[in-house]
């Protein structure tokens, strides 16, 4: 008996926590407190709702006001004020306990995998064989079975640790972040549901189960993005998204990709007759190569939707409408990683069964998205907006890593490191937003122009944020360096010079916009260390910033420690160990290990250049920020970038004219053709009835006449037929 056979306990623990929370919620919520939506009915049009735009309108044409909804007098805002009842806190504790159990089990699984015991016949080791857990058969159809199976292998174990670990930290963080929110208990229920969906997704042994988890993740992200569905919409021209349309956008946009994913699954199934990953790896080798290529590109469409790659990336920045811990959990560490995980899971099919075109598509879309999102991130003023686009950009890196690598190690390692430092960045930005609650911005200021010098107020957050910033910029010895640099280097080694150029330039942009964010938020001209550590006089807003409670800084410290430790362990060969672990315990070398060579120098140099430029512009203030936008070309570029290449507007137009036009056509068809047939048949029957009811006179003599007349006609017919008369 080995522990891995009980891997199903991990989702079961979360499911148990979820069930308990829902029970408590149903009993307590519907028996007592009024729903929060009742309080916000009159929140949107309060008198001071109209003031804020006027006050700031003079600043700039594209001024961002932050979320200035006027809920401060009500008890439906996050963070401050309001009280959290005991039962809601109980929900959060149950959630944390369930996650703690799941995380402990995941770590135990990791340890067991590292020990690598013999499990199978013929001395097969656990790392090589993985472990198959049959749960039950969903249904049998003819000689086909549709099984619900789990499979635990090294890839799954890594994802389990990442998902449960980040989710646990986000749970702890949320107890501080959403304290006082009327949806406190609901928040933890939705978090647990999300974690459960993600666990099902990563434990799946076949495409059927992964698709179930996939859609569950979509559903729970829909719920979490729209968690503040009752908030007032942000003012016109603001960068901030509005939760209700944002959640629908996330759901519908990812569904576009899911359509391709489903067709891809069906092609694979019809060609091979199996959903199972292991069986697919060999079965697809004997099928027409071009067909598999098409199927894998279609499957990648699903990953494009879920992992927010161009052109389906537009939902992710809008998904920042959700509470910040949600952004950390869903949109940095786990949900968007689902697409990367899917491609990594199907890596053998991509690499062997499909033609090279499949990975070319993956690589070029990834590289383009990385560059594309990075350029948009340059112009954001919304602190979470920058992070959202940087997430899209980093996901692009992961796909590049999968496409150019010899195994799925490159992409998965970047996913692994990125999960920690991106969660750290999001949670750090959550601390900032949490600290900047004013009367006007009851949900916290998100506009970086109203920040600055915060490092003096919240040093722990600033230090953690700086560590994550260095990691994402690819500066050694932090974790991002060990995962990002090999991706760029491998692209060069594989002679994909276009991808190399794009990713290298993106590395420069990434470092620049991340440090732009840091200087605008925590530092500023005149601060210590050349503006890195801003002074009190640098703060441009009117809130009273303060360090967050321990429940919020503790996860930050843990994540920062993970980022540093993973980075330091890189010197001792952690990435080699990762490659060994992920590749069935075979000794393979990490494709390109960062070393003291020219490639690494370029990679790190791009990051250092980006940091230096950001320092010059925002830290030291030597180069004014308007230097690039003052000339007409720069202004045009800035306008295009600030408007996200007008893609959102383009999609809005497409939806407005093409999609809604088609919908109207369909509605007309439904109204006149479908309803016409139904109503027409009813009308025909009715008019026929009104005709024939005239014959029902009720007079016996009429009936008699009809009877005898009919008998006569029948007789005549018989006579004619038998030839008795008429011949």
């Amino acid at each position: 008996m080995i522990l891995v056979d009980f891997a199903w306990l991990i989702p079961a623990a979360v499911l148990a926590a979820l069930t308990l929370e829902v029970l408590i919620y149903i009993v307590m919520r519907f028996s007592r407190a009024p729903l929060p939506i009742a309080a916000s009915q009159h929140g949107g049009e309060s008198p001071d709702g109209g003031e804020a735009p006027d006050a700031h309108a003079a600043q700039a044409a594209q001024a961002e006001h932050g979320n200035h909804s006027t809920h401060s007098t009500h008890d439906d805002h996050g963070g401050h004020g309001g009280s959290t009842p005991f039962w809601a806190q109980l929900c959060s504790w149950i959630g944390i306990a369930g996650l703690l159990g799941a995380f402990g089990l995941s770590i135990a699984l990791l340890v067991e995998f590292l020990q690598n015991p013999v499990v199978g016949p013929g001395g097969t080791h656990l790392l090589t064989a993985g472990r198959f857990i049959h749960l039950y058969d969903w249904f049998n159809f003819g000689n086909l079975t549709y099984p619900i199976d789990f499979r635990v292998d090294s890839l799954t174990v890594i994802m389990l640790v990442v998902v449960t670990g980040v989710s646990l930290l986000v749970h702890i963080y949320s107890t501080g972040y959403t304290r006082g929110d009327p949806g406190y208990a609901r928040f933890f229920i939705e978090l647990a549901l999300f974690t459960l969906s993600m666990l099902i997704l990563v434990l799946a042994a076949n495409l059927l189960v992964i698709f179930i988890g996939w859609e569950l993740v979509g559903l729970s992200s829909y719920l979490l993005i729209g968690f503040w569905f009752y908030h007032a919409p942000p003012p016109r021209g603001s960068e901030l998204p509005y939760p209700p349309p944002a959640q629908v956008k996330a759901f519908v946009t990812t569904r576009l990709g899911d359509f391709g994913f489903m067709i891809g699954i069906l092609i694979l199934f019809f060609q091979t007759g199996t959903f199972n990953f292991v069986a697919l790896n060999t079965a697809t080798l004997h099928v027409d190569k071009s067909l598999i290529t098409i199927a894998m590109i279609l499957v990648f469409c699903g990953a494009v939707g879920k992992s927010a790659q161009f052109p389906l990336h537009t939902w992710l920045p809008d998904a920042m409408a959700g509470p910040t811990p949600v952004s950390a959990l869903i949109h940095a560490a786990t949900m968007v990683a689902a697409g990367v995980y899917l491609v990594a899971r199907l890596f053998p099919i991509y690499a062997q069964a499909a033609g090279p075109q499949a990975f070319e598509v993956v690589g070029y879309i990834g590289a383009f998205t990385a560059l594309f999102a990075a350029t948009i991130a340059l112009t954001r003023y919304d602190i979470k907006g920058v992070l959202a686009y940087s997430t899209i950009s980093q996901l692009g890196y992961m796909f590049v890593g999968l496409a150019v690598g010899d195994s799925n190690t490159l992409g998965m390692y970047h996913l692994f490191t990125h999960a920690f430092f991106k969660a750290l960045l999001f949670l750090g930005s959550g601390c900032v937003i949490h600290a900047l609650v004013t009367a006007q911005d009851a949900h916290g200021v998100q506009d970086m122009r109203k920040m600055g010098g915060l490092a003096k107020f919240m040093p722990v957050t600033a230090i953690c944020f700086l560590i994550a910033n260095l990691a994402i910029s690819g500066i050694p010895p932090f974790s991002g360096f060990w995962s990002k640099d090999p991706i760029i280097g491998t692209a060069w080694d594989k002679h994909d010079y276009i991808i190399y150029g794009m990713t290298l330039f993106t590395a420069f942009l990434t470092a620049f916009y991340m440090f732009r964010l840091f200087f605008m938020t925590f530092g500023g001209k005149g601060g210590a260390f050349g503006g890195l550590w801003g002074g009190r006089d640098q703060y441009r807003g009117d809130a009273h910033p303060h360090e967050s409670p321990l429940s919020m800084t503790f996860p930050l410290m843990v994540l920062a420690a993970a980022t540093v430790l993973i980075g330091l362990a890189g010197f001792t060969g952690l990435n080699q160990g990762f490659a060994w672990f992920l590749n069935s315990g075979v000794n393979v070398s990490f494709a390109v290990t960062p070393g003291l060579d020219l490639l690494t120098l370029f990679g790190v140099g791009a990051g250092v250049l980006g940091i230096a430029l950001a320092w010059l512009m925002y830290g030291l203030g030597i180069v004014p920020a308007t230097a690039f936008t003052s000339n007409p070309i720069g202004a045009f570029v800035h306008r295009v970038l600030y408007n996200k290449y007008y893609l959102d507007d383009l999609y809005a137009l497409i939806v407005k004219y093409i999609a809604l036009g088609l919908a109207n056509l369909a509605a007309l068809f439904d109204k006149y053709i479908i309803d016409g047939i139904v109503n027409g048949s009813a009308k025909a029957v009715r008019s026929l009835g009104s005709l024939t009811r005239r014959t029902e006179t009720g007079k016996l003599q009429n009936y008699g006449a009809a009877l005898f007349g009919g008998a006569m006609i029948i007789l005549l017919i018989i006579f004619f037929a038998t030839g008795a008369i008429g011949k």
């Binding site: 029902e696 009720g698 007079k699 016996l700 003599q701 008699g704 006449a705 005898f708």
Partner: protein, 108 residues
């Protein structure tokens, strides 16, 4: 045997049609009753005609079947006429009419 079977059958058919016409077209209940009686008697004519014309051809059968049928029909018709007339008188007493067009109490 100067008169052929055909002549009797034609007579029966004609009388039946006269009776049918009377029963279907008259509005007076007594006239309808009379039409029905005529139809019954037309059937009697055909029955008796068939019975006498097939008398020799089927010696084994009871030669009087047709006639006995006719006698039965006359008896039943008499009973029916008495019942119908009683009903008509009862209706007339209550509603002061025997026009079938106005006796429509049970019409839908």
């Amino acid at each position: 045997m100067g008169v052929s079977l055909q002549a009797f059958l034609v007579l029966g058919a004609v009388v039946f049609c006269i009776g049918l016409f009377g029963a279907l077209s008259k509005r007076n209940a007594v006239s309808i009753l009379m039409g029905i009686e005529i139809m019954l008697n037309a059937v009697n004519i055909t029955l008796v005609a068939f019975a006498s014309s097939f008398l020799h051809q089927q010696p084994k059968n009871n030669p009087l079947t047709g006639q006995i049928f006719a006698v039965f029909i006359i008896t039943v018709a008499a009973a029916e006429a008495s019942v119908a007339l009683a009903m008509i008188i009862a209706i007339y007493r209550r509603r002061n009419t025997i026009d079938v067009g106005e006796i429509n109490l049970m019409r839908w």
